[in-house]
């Protein structure tokens, strides 16, 4: 019995952590390339709205997911065009992207409020899925959870073991030197930004097609911002981002359970837990290495090639 509860709690934590992992990994690649895109929340919620709308219209969750990814990428392309090719201020443009994304998502999702869709199915592998604890946790998740894991492992491998990953990091650490070496700085940055948009869109589609599964305005509830904080918290390392997402997923689940158990604390206090946890995490991280040495050196600095 207690094992079952334990299993269930871990299961829900994994589910709650998944959108954070996916979005954070996307932003991590963007920031490793030296670009700070604060528009994660906007891209994510557009992915959620578009994904759900298209899934309803085509009656296919798979096409919905794809549409969510594309929506995230479209917004990211806009951001990339402005910040990378026109050297607009990254912080301000990212904020604009969030405001735009929140507005657009409301327009896209307006006709789909109150509709429901069967959430995407969970995997079932005979025998393997029946192993106690591990079976349910590892072998019977939905496809998004696996996508999140694949992204973590894939980006960790990409960044540390491939030439392309090295090039990407070089662009993020010192764009002037990279440019002098003949590396197409702006192209790489643009591709990284597109990848970040795709991840944010996927994370959003997970929320509206698997996690809740319906569309509600403002349903991302700051998860895009928490993903941004996770990247800092993880010192720009994929595996740490995964660990951090589990912690935050845990905080979210804890809050839901506490609310359900009505333990006498005001609901607002419990809702505040993930946000307060973000601030505390940032403080703890800053205490550990004070000068923020882990950040890519060119992060947030626009690049205009001299010729």
């Amino acid at each position: 019995m207690s094992l079952q509860i334990f299993e269930l709690v871990l299961f829900t934590i994994l589910a709650a952590a998944t959108p954070l992992v996916i979005a954070a990994i996307g932003e991590l690649i963007v920031e490793r390339a030296g670009v700070l895109n604060l528009g994660v929340e906007g891209m994510m919620i557009c992915g959620a709205a578009t994904g759900f709308a298209v899934a309803i219209l085509t009656d296919s969750s798979e096409i919905g997911v794809l549409a969510g990814i594309l929506a995230g990428m479209a917004l990211a392309a806009l951001f990339g065009l402005l910040t990378i090719f026109m050297a607009a201020n990254q912080v301000a443009t990212g904020l604009a992207l969030t405001i735009l994304g929140l507005g657009l998502s409301g327009l896209i999702g307006a006709q789909f409020i109150g509709l429901k869709r069967e959430s995407l199915g969970h995997l079932y592998i005979p025998l393997l899925s029946d192993i106690p604890l591990i079976g349910k946790l590892v072998f019977s998740q939905d496809v998004f959870v696996y996508a999140g894991w694949a992204l973590v492992v894939g980006t960790a491998w990409f960044l540390s073991r491939t030439r392309a990953g090295l090039t990407l990091r070089a662009v993020g650490e010192n764009h002037a030197s990279a440019h002098a070496l003949g590396i197409p700085v702006r192209k790489i940055r643009f591709l990284a930004v597109l990848f970040g948009g795709a991840c944010a869109g996927l994370a959003g589609a997970y929320l509206s097609l698997a996690y809740t599964p319906f569309w509600a305005p403002g349903m991302t509830a700051g998860r895009g911002w928490i993903a941004l904080a996770l990247v800092v918290f993880a010192s720009w390392r994929p595996l740490l981002a995964f660990a951090g997402a589990l912690l935050f997923g845990g905080a979210t689940v804890l809050q839901l359970h506490a609310q359900a158990a009505s333990i006498g604390l005001p609901g607002q206090l419990l809702t505040a837990v993930p946000y307060a946890a973000t601030i505390i995490a940032l403080i703890i991280l800053s205490l550990r290495h004070r000068r923020g040495g882990a950040a890519p050196a060119s992060l947030g600095v626009g690049f205009v090639p001299e010729r």
């Binding site: 026109m86 050297a87 201020n89 405001i99 507005g103 409301g106 607002q268 809702t271 307060a276």
Partner: protein, 362 residues
């Protein structure tokens, strides 16, 4: 195809004025496109959004009342953004200002009516409490940045959520009007705890004057004081500022205190002028719209005043469009996002010449 940016030797003055206007025009065109895609008439929408709010006395007053918090907050934010510091939590500082200023009114409520205490100081105390609360709340991310190096962007934003939840909790709990039929709202403030109206019996409250005063004060500080010079210098040439002996930490704290205080003052003005009691939600996102106002106004006091009026007009236009044309309110938000993007893109024109070359990409 290849996009090249050529640095302009001198910032073009003509472009400084043209670029926000061009940005606005392009944003309006894109917005019209969205309206058309929603199956509504863009020309009618243009009239509802931009002309109708300016056509009657009462709606002109409404424009001024809605512009008040936007201008106040944006003026404060311009100090931060000028110094390249990113306070994006003005919404939270606004809420905290409204909350703590409003608490003064709630706790003195019966006492004034019963003649137990003199009433004249209540309103100034509310304004002071609101400003101080916003200031202190704004100082949290500044302190975390100065002492620990924590990103002010993320901490200031997270504090928005916490402020909103605190207000929600207090208004539904300890501050709820016991005679309010269980509605989640505080007691209605007494006359003495309300901002007076400039035009008796109308909507135009004295907060409008405070916003105007803030514009001129900011213009004076930016142009005529050493502190203003420091802010501008740190923003444009941080190394030079450090060599000149200006302290990064002191400046960070100062600009966050200013922007937090301005947002807090805006919050209590909204509560004491417009709403007249505490409610679970006291802002339709003024703190975020003010970011757009600050940039649209090119971080200049007078520009911010004009930009605040423009955004206020579109907000009222958006509300009218929702009623008259059944255009969703989110259209306005999307439009504001597009507007900010156009402003930022147009800003590039003042710094660079853009050349598009056909041929292989670099």
């Amino acid at each position: 195809m290849r996009i090249e940016l050529e640095t302009r030797p001198v910032r073009s003055t003509a472009m400084e004025i043209i670029s926000p206007l061009a940005a606005f025009a392009i944003a309006v065109l894109i917005g019209g496109g969205i309206i058309a895609m929603l199956g509504k008439s863009p020309t009618q929408a243009f009239h509802v959004y931009f002309i109708a709010p300016l056509s009657e006395i009462w709606s002109l007053q409404e424009v001024a009342v809605k512009a008040t918090p936007l201008v106040l907050i944006a003026i404060g934010l311009s100090f931060c953004y000028r110094a390249n510091l990113w306070n994006i939590g003005a919404e939270g500082q606004f809420v905290v200002g409204g909350l703590f200023g409003g608490m003064v009114a709630v706790y003195t409520h019966g006492a004034i009516n019963d003649g137990l205490i003199g009433g004249w100081w209540v309103l100034p105390a509310m304004l002071l409490a609101g400003t101080l609360a916003g200031m202190l709340y704004g100082l949290i991310p500044a302190l975390l940045k100065v002492k620990l190096g924590a990103s002010e962007i993320l901490t200031s934003l997270m504090l928005v959520y916490l402020a909103e939840l605190l207000l929600d909790y207090l208004v539904r709990g300890p501050l709820r009007d016991p005679k309010g039929f269980n509605f989640p709202q505080s007691v209605p403030f007494e006359e003495i705890a309300r901002l007076p109206y400039i035009v008796p019996g109308d909507r135009l409250h004295a907060g409008v004057l405070l916003a105007l005063a803030a514009v001129f004060l900011a213009a004076f500080i930016m142009r005529r004081t050493l502190f203003g010079f420091d802010v501008r210098l740190v923003g444009s040439a941080p190394k030079a500022a450090r060599f000149a002996g200006f302290s990064d930490a002191r400046l960070t704290l100062a600009v966050f205190a200013i922007s937090g205080g301005a947002a807090g003052l805006a919050g209590i003005c909204e509560v004491a002028g417009q709403i007249g009691q505490l409610q679970p939600v006291i802002s339709p996102g003024y703190g975020f719209s003010a970011i757009i106002v600050a940039f649209l106004g090119r971080l200049q006091p007078i520009g911010i005043l004009l930009a605040g009026l423009v955004l206020s007009i579109t907000t009222i236009g958006g509300e009218n469009a929702q009623i008259l044309m059944k255009v969703p309110l989110d259209t306005t938000r999307a439009f504001q996002g597009i507007l900010l993007m156009c402003v930022l893109a147009a800003d590039v024109l003042t710094r660079y010449r853009i050349k598009i070359r056909l041929g292989a990409s670099s």
